[in-house]
Symmetry: C2
C-alpha cells in the first residue's frame, strides 16, 4: 500500500471516524482504524462495535487530485496515535506506505513516522444491511429531531430500552419518543416516502448524539436504512451504523393528558431565563426544584429558595392564562431542557393540576411535545 493525500482532507475524514473509536474497548483491534486505498480513493473505518463510521475520500474531487495512489492495499493503525500524528505533520501532504508486513511509514516534509500496524483482515466486517426499508430525511431536519428528543433518554441502564429513542413509522408519519419516566419528549414529522409496512426501532441515545455531530446543517438528504438489529444513516461521504436496542418500548401515548385545567401561553425564552436564575438557588438544595404559580393579570411567578443561602422570585408577563389558578413545582433542569427544544419560541403549557404531568407545545404547531412530571412540594 502506498499513497499520498492532501492532509486537510485526511484530517476531516479522521475527525468523523474518530467519533466511533473508543479507548475503552475490550476488542484490541477496535483501538485501530482501518485504511483501505484503491484507485478510486481512500476508505476509513472506525468502530466501537455499537457504532461504526465509514468515510470515503475520492481520489479526485471536483477535478482536484486529492489522493495519488501508487499501490493499493489496506492496514489497521492505532487510531488515536495516527490521528494525532496527522494533526501535527509539518506540510500539507502526507505519504503513507506499508512496506513489509505491517510496517507503516508516514512521511511529511522531513518528518518520518514509523508505526507498527495490524492485520486488516482481522478488522470486523461492516454489518450486512439490505436496502429493503429505507427513507430519506434532510440533514438539518434529522439534526432537529435528534436535538428535540435525545436529551430525555434515561441515563440509567436499569431499563436499557429507555436509554434509546423510539422511532416509529406509521401512516406516513415518523414519531420519535424518548422518556426517562420523569419526563418525555416527542417529535412527529410527516414524511412522503416512508415504507408502507409499519415498523418501530429503538436507537441508542449515544449513537444519535454522535450522529448529530457528524451530519452537516445543510438540507442534503440523509438516507436511513432499518433492519432488525441495525440502522444505517448514509450521507454522500459517510456511512454511520448503529446497533439497535432490544426489548419492547413502553406504550407512552396513554401518559399524555388529553384535557387540561390551566392553559398558559408565554414566551419560552423569558421562562427559560427566569428558571435558569431560580435554579441558581434551587441547585444548592440538590433537588433543583423551582415553583411556578399563576397570579392575577396573566402573571406567572417563578421562585425557589434555599434555607441557608436565600431565595429568589421573579414575575413574568404571559400572553394569557386560562382556567384554574395553579401552584406547581418541577425540576428546573427538566423544564430548561424542554424549553430548549422550542428554541425560544412562544409555548403553550397545559396543566391538569399540581400533581399531574403537564405538557408543552409550540404555539405554532404540535410537532414537538414535551411532558414533565411535577414534584410534590405544596
Amino acid at each position: 500500500m502506498k499513497f499520498e493525500i492532501m492532509r486537510h482532507r485526511l484530517l476531516d475524514a479522521l475527525n468523523d471516524v474518530m467519533k466511533a473509536v473508543s479507548s475503552k474497548t475490550t476488542i484490541p483491534i477496535l483501538t485501530g482504524i482501518k485504511l483501505e486505498v484503491t484507485e478510486a480513493g481512500l476508505r476509513i473505518t472506525g468502530s466501537d462495535s455499537d457504532i461504526t463510521i465509514q468515510t470515503f475520500i475520492k481520489a479526485v474531487e471536483d477535478g482536484d487530485q486529492v489522493i495519488r495512489v501508487m499501490e493499493e492495499g489496506a492496514i489497521v493503525l492505532q487510531a488515536r496515535m495516527f490521528n494525532e500524528i496527522v494533526r501535527k505533520l509539518p506540510t500539507s501532504d502526507v505519504e503513507i506506505e506499508v512496506t513489509e508486513k505491517y510496517d507503516t511509514h508516514i512521511r511529511s516534509g522531513k518528518s518520518e513516522f514509523h508505526l507498527i500496524g495490524l492485520e486488516p483482515s482481522e478488522y470486523p466486517l461492516l454489518p450486512d444491511i439490505q436496502d429493503d426499508r429505507h427513507f430519506e430525511i434532510p440533514a438539518d431536519l434529522l439534526k432537529s429531531i435528534i436535538r428535540e428528543t435525545v436529551f430525555a433518554v434515561s441515563p440509567s441502564e436499569n431499563r436499557p430500552v429507555l436509554t434509546g429513542v423510539h422511532w416509529q413509522a406509521k401512516n406516513g408519519e415518523l414519531v420519535c419518543v424518548a422518556t426517562d419516566s420523569h419526563r418525555l419528549a416527542r417529535r412527529k414529522v410527516t414524511l412522503e416516502q416512508l415504507p408502507e409496512k409499519e415498523y418501530s426501532v429503538v436507537i441508542p441515545g449515544k449513537s444519535l448524539n454522535e450522529l448529530s455531530k457528524i451530519i452537516g446543517d445543510s438540507s442534503e438528504p440523509v438516507q436511513i436504512v432499518m433492519t432488525d438489529q441495525q440502522v444505517l444513516f448514509k450521507t454522500e461521504d459517510v456511512l454511520f451504523y448503529s446497533r439497535l436496542l432490544e426489548g419492547n418500548y413502553p406504550d407512552t401515548s396513554r401518559l399524555i393528558p388529553t384535557e387540561y385545567k390551566t392553559f398558559v401561553t408565554m414566551n419560552g425564552k423569558a421562562l427559560f431565563q427566569a428558571i435558569d436564575r431560580a435554579s441558581l438557588l434551587a441547585r444548592e438544595e440538590r433537588n433543583n426544584i423551582v415553583r411556578f404559580s399563576s397570579l392575577e393579570e396573566n402573571i406567572v411567578e417563578i421562585s425557589s429558595s434555599s434555607p441557608e443561602i436565600g431565595e429568589v422570585e421573579e414575575e413574568i408577563q404571559t400572553t394569557s392564562i386560562e382556567g384554574e389558578q395553579l401552584k406547581i413545582s418541577f425540576s428546573a433542569k427538566y423544564m430548561m431542557d424542554a424549553l430548549k427544544a422550542f428554541d425560544g419560541q412562544d409555548v403553550t403549557i397545559q396543566f391538569t393540576g399540581a400533581m399531574r404531568p403537564f405538557i408543552l407545545n409550540s404555539v405554532k404547531d404540535n410537532e414537538v411535545l414535551q411532558l414533565i412530571v411535577p414534584v410534590r412540594t405544596y
Copy 2:
C-alpha cells in the same frame, strides 16, 4: 447599604476578584467577597488568605454615572453564588440593598434575589504594607517576565521554596529565577528606579499565574511594593496582594555552565514543532524523552521511539553547529516549555556534553536563559 450599579462594570470587577476566592478554603468567611460602598464608589475584596485581590469601581467614570449610591455600607456575600446571580440577571442595571441585619436584596428588572449575608467586620483586614520599597514595571513586561519563568517552578511541596519564583533586585537589575531542580528559567531586566537596597523575595508561582490573568497587555505601569511577608501589585483599579514564601532560595548561579563544547543556532519554532511531533511517541513511554543528535551539514535530528508503537525521526536544518558532535536526550516537555519562552525566535543552545546541563538563549540578547538537565540514555 443601598446602591445601583451598571451590571457589566460589576461583572468585570467580580471577574478579577473571583480569582482570589477558593472553594477549598477552611475559613468560612473567605468563601464570601466583601462589598463596601461609599459616595466615591464600590470596593470589592476577595481572598484565599494567600492571595487577596481588591478592586475599586468609581461612582463616576469619565463623566458616566456607573454607581448611584443611596446609602453607604458594607456586606459579605457568598462569592460564587453572588457572581453567578449577577452574571444571569435580566437587565443592564443591578440594585443591591442590605435591609435589617445582613438581609441582602439583589434586584434587576422583575427578578429579585434575597441572600443571607455575613458580618463585614469579620472579614480579614488587608495586609498592612508600607510603601518603603517599591518600583514600577509596565504591565506587558510584567506579564512577559511571569510567562518566561513561572512554568519552571516545582509542582512538589517537598521543598516549598521551589514552588515560587525568586525575585532579586540588585545594582539596578531585577533577576527572576525559577527551578524545579531538573530545569531552570531565568529572566533579567534592567529597571531604572529600583530601590537602592538589595532585596530578594520568593513569590508563589500560583500567585504569579493569577496575577498574569488580571493585568492587561498594555504598557500601563504596575507598581510593586515589597515587604518581608507580602508583595503588592498595584494597577489603577486593582490591588493584588500575595504572601511570600519563607526559606532561603538556593544559589542557582553556579549551576549555569559558562563554557560550551557544542554551540547550535537554530529556529526555535521549527525545533518546537519537531519535538512536539516526536513527543507523540515519547509520551507513550511515560518518560517523554526525545533524542537530539547533530549530523553533518548543520543538520540536527530529533527522534524518539516506543517499542510497541513505532518510532519517529526528523531532520531540521540549523543556522550553524559549532564544536563537538553531540547526541543528547532530554524531556520533550521541558524543551517545549523552554522554547515557548522565546516565542518562536531563533535560539542558541550551548551544550557541554551529553551528561551536563545545557542552556538556551535568544540570538538577540541574553535577557532570557533556560537551562535543562539532560537524561542519560546513550
